[in-house]
Amino acid sequence: MSPVFYILAAITLAGGLAAVVLKRLVHCALAVTAAFAGLALLYLQLDAQFVAFAQILVYIGAVAILIVFAILLTRGSDLPKEGVFSRTWFVGLVIAAAVFAVLAWTVVQSLRGVPQQTAVPAVAVRDIGNMLVGRYVLPLEIVALLLTAATIGAVIAAMHQKEGRQ
């Protein structure tokens, strides 16, 4: 485990945590962006260049912006009058802690003695492309369809319904 990993993990987790606990929604969105960036760097460390850049492009370039827009459109940039946590926050916290405990226990238990690849896999972007239009062409098409449907759906869901109202 290199120190770089610890730094990146710290950035990611701190970003994630800040996103969950901060008061102002815009700050949460910016914090979650930091977490996304940390994850992208983790991917880079894992020699997954393509995914890392895709992560930045999609999450920082698009999802974060979407979140920010949604916050502004729902007046989320103002501080809420009541608390930011729901009434049953304690239950949620307990559940999350339990989930983490189970996951951590499973990870630690199951990895004992499992052999692990340590050599850096030689993967070119060309291979990813070939795979995408070769073996994974069907999922690719389905994802394309899904994205189109989602875009249309999002537009319709968020559209002004002028004619219907008047």
């Binding site: 969950v20 698009a62 729902t74 630690v108 692990q116 990813i128 999922p139 537009v155």
Partner: protein, 107 residues
């Protein structure tokens, strides 16, 4: 603790913690957008798992984990778009994005 010290375990633990944080956020916050942020964090944690498994797993040249991650990113983007579109449309109806107040089926 052999398993704990291996690189894969480190990534998996980070992923698990991130997942838990996301889950906690989704479960404890009032605002619908924050819930979506939590869900995004959980999805990202899963992606980290996928990449880590691809990197340290037996057949990296098959690219399975990476492909899953790529598709997951694409689906997550679609999910975010639809989810936020829904939040905005709910806000239009109820003038709030606080989940505690959106508790009726009737708009």
């Amino acid at each position: 603790m052999n398993g704990f010290a291996s690189p894969l375990a480190g990534y998996l633990l980070v992923a698990a913690l991130l997942f838990a944080i996301g889950l906690a956020g989704a479960l404890t916050r009032r605002n619908a957008i924050l819930v979506l942020i939590g869900i995004e964090l959980m999805l990202n944690a899963a992606n980290l798992n996928l990449i880590a498994f691809w990197r340290f797993g037996p057949h990296p040249e098959a690219l399975t984990g990476m492909m899953f991650a790529i598709f997951s990113i694409a689906v997550a983007a679609a999910e975010a778009a639809v989810g936020l579109g829904l939040v905005i449309s709910i806000y239009r109806h109820t003038h709030t994005a606080e989940l505690d107040k959106i508790n009726r089926l009737k708009g």
